[in-house]
Amino acid sequence: MYNSNKTKELNTYDAIVIGSGISGGWAAMELCKKGFKTLLLERGRNVEHIVDYPTANLNPWDFKYGLNNTLKDREADPVQSNTYNPSTKHFFVSDAEHPYIQEQPFDWVRGYQVGGRSLVWGRQCYRMSDLDFEANLKDGIAVDWPIRYKDLAPWYSYVESFIGVSGQKENLAHLPDGEFLPAMELNYIEKHLGDSIKKNEHNRLLTIARVANLTRGWDHRGPCQNRNLCERGCPFGGYFSSNSSTIPAAVATGNLTLRPFSIVTEILYDEQRQMAKGVRVIDTLSNEVYEFYSKILFINASTIATASLLLNSVSSRFPNGFGNDSEQVGHNLMDHHSSAGAYGVHDQFKDYYYKGRRPCGFLIPRYRNLKDGENLNFKRGYNIQGHGERMEWQDLSYNLNGFGKDFKKQLTTPGDWTVWMAGWGECLPYFENQITLDKIQKDKWGLPLVKIDFSFAENENKMMIDIQQTSAEMLEGAGFKDVEMFNYKKSGGSTVHEMGTARMGHDPRTSVLNKFNQMHNAKNVFITDGSAMTSSSCQNPSLTYMALTARACEFAYQQLKNGKL
């Protein structure tokens, strides 16, 4: 490896964005639209919209082993193979190639490519509210969020109007409505469950999921064709990904330089200006080392990678990691839990069915601890996500006895209605839940391995019991039979909502970023991926990352314009 001697001018941009996933795509687009010459650095390969979706149009019989992962895959990728199958494997990293250390079981699910995990995400989009932004302050937990809902509300609207989110307005203070495209529809059993909940549980309701799937044409994309194969990449551009949306928009400005195969290894510090001067990069094709410089820097490598990049960037000014005066970098790691729930079978309404594969389920917005004094044995809350369907062969395979003609007939006829639902629960920010860098073990580029030490605690475990009970109650209330509660006890990370490792806060002594996601200790660095999160709420988080990103880009632009950076 040698440091390539390109001239400094050639390697200088107005802005650098690290990572091209959900949040990085947004940063790149916003900065390009503001006229900044922007360099988007991505460690993985390029993935071109539509062209690079090799499995998108395949039929079930086109896969050699169906959707079963091979023994070899499971051995090489013990973590990722829990999430991928042969139709999506190419959008996930290989664990063998990208190892990390689990102090306790933690699934670090990753997609190293242009678009990051925006290609495979579940597209659920929910706003946070003041119930969430005020929670830490009220409970005296961790530090206060330096923003409130009103600061983010216009940016939620801005993002939703661009990406296209379908959903139903419900007029709830704790789950604010957004700018919605027409909602998808609930099927018969889901409506039945919804009606029963409305009747029996006055503070609860069931609504269709809010998802970044386009129910009508939008921004030259879509509409969604109801194939429910989104995670393979959509040939219709029916859902939001960086690849289908923000990156093409950034390219269209003429201001974007996209550089795949570029691992950012270090943030470079400028002693004189007390700011970042740029980044050091390993080109994974040539193994050459480059430096790139810019006025501002957006770090969007995703929570764990972002924290590890900061920790790996040491200098005499920052011996503990870049911008880490507070010593909070890497700490307060959170992930939602989604292990607990209930399942039930309904023996009526057999005359009804559905056509098409709606790419989402339903949502029961949070109903716990909305007010003070509920006397529950846990803090915060959860929402319920689930779906109703009739048993088809996948389920009947486990439920039908026998073999032969009659068996075949039953197997190929719609069975009873079922509902599966689980709680997506808030996880508190614990200082002990953290990532660090291993002092000895390195990856093939000589970078220290990330060590993850995470576990759920009493509050999360008690909440899971409550989830099981309230889910089962709602199903039983609606006449479901054989209601079964479950807790899969999945490890941390498996909800893939990791966040919190470089949190926002008012005070530079206890937080890494200020209320504009600007680093307290280096004003031209902005971090707008999940690491910025001060608490986790129970909402799927990516919409919030996007809103924070757009807001921070506008702030950075104003600061630069006014000569403050």
Binding site: F63, Y343, K350, R357, Y488
Partner: protein, 191 residues
């Protein structure tokens, strides 16, 4: 992968974890099976799968070439223990037909095949499973269960199975949330 199928899969895998199997010794179950041996049993596997999903007014397991799928998936995707149990199961089928009819399974009459198959099914440890009973470890991965699962999967994901045995909607276009079931309507091949 889609979230919900992901979780469903975990549910199923989790439930499968509690299997116990007493007929064959553990030692035998940890040896790699010989793919050549398994492939040489393809006709037998095909015959068995056809008993589970026979040809009717729609194609059966044989015309969907399910045996091929079963063996490929077994060798490449299933753990060694399961592969071995499967091989032992095939041996059991053979020895049972030998003992009772003095001929190999493939040479048995339809009635005899049926009887042997019923014996195997009834001696698979348990014959009835409920998906949601996950807390009551009644799942297993006996020979019969593996054979049945892979037959169903191989059939329903094959072209004849998906498009003729079931209803396959390649690009639905719209979503109709509540439709009246039509007489003899088949269920959807994919979710």
């Amino acid at each position: 992968m889609n979230r919900r199928s992901y979780f469903k899969r975990i549910l199923v895998l989790g439930a499968l974890g509690g299997a116990s199997f007493s007929i064959f010794k553990w030692k035998e179950l940890t040896r790699q099976v010989d793919p050549v041996l398994l492939w040489s049993k393809k006709d037998l596997v095909a015959e068995l799968s056809e008993i589970i999903i026979p040809e009717t007014d729609t194609p059966g397991a044989k015309s969907a070439n399910v045996a091929d799928y079963i063996i490929k998936v077994l060798i490449n995707c299933m753990d060694i223990k399961k592969q071995n149990k499967f091989c032992s199961g095939l041996e059991l089928v053979e020895s049972h037909s030998m003992r009772n009819y003095g001929k190999s399974f493939l040479n048995c009459s339809d009635q005899e095949k049926q009887t042997v198959f019923e014996y195997i099914a009834n001696h698979s440890g348990f014959s009835y499973r409920i998906l949601n009973r996950i807390n009551k470890k009644i799942f297993g991965e006996s020979f019969f269960i593996t054979l049945k699962d892979l037959t169903i999967e191989g059939y329903c994901m094959s072209k004849p199975g998906a498009t003729q045995g079931l209803a396959y909607d390649y690009i639905p276009g719209n979503f109709e949330a509540c439709i009246k079931l039509k007489p003899n309507q088949k269920s959807w091949a994919t979710k």
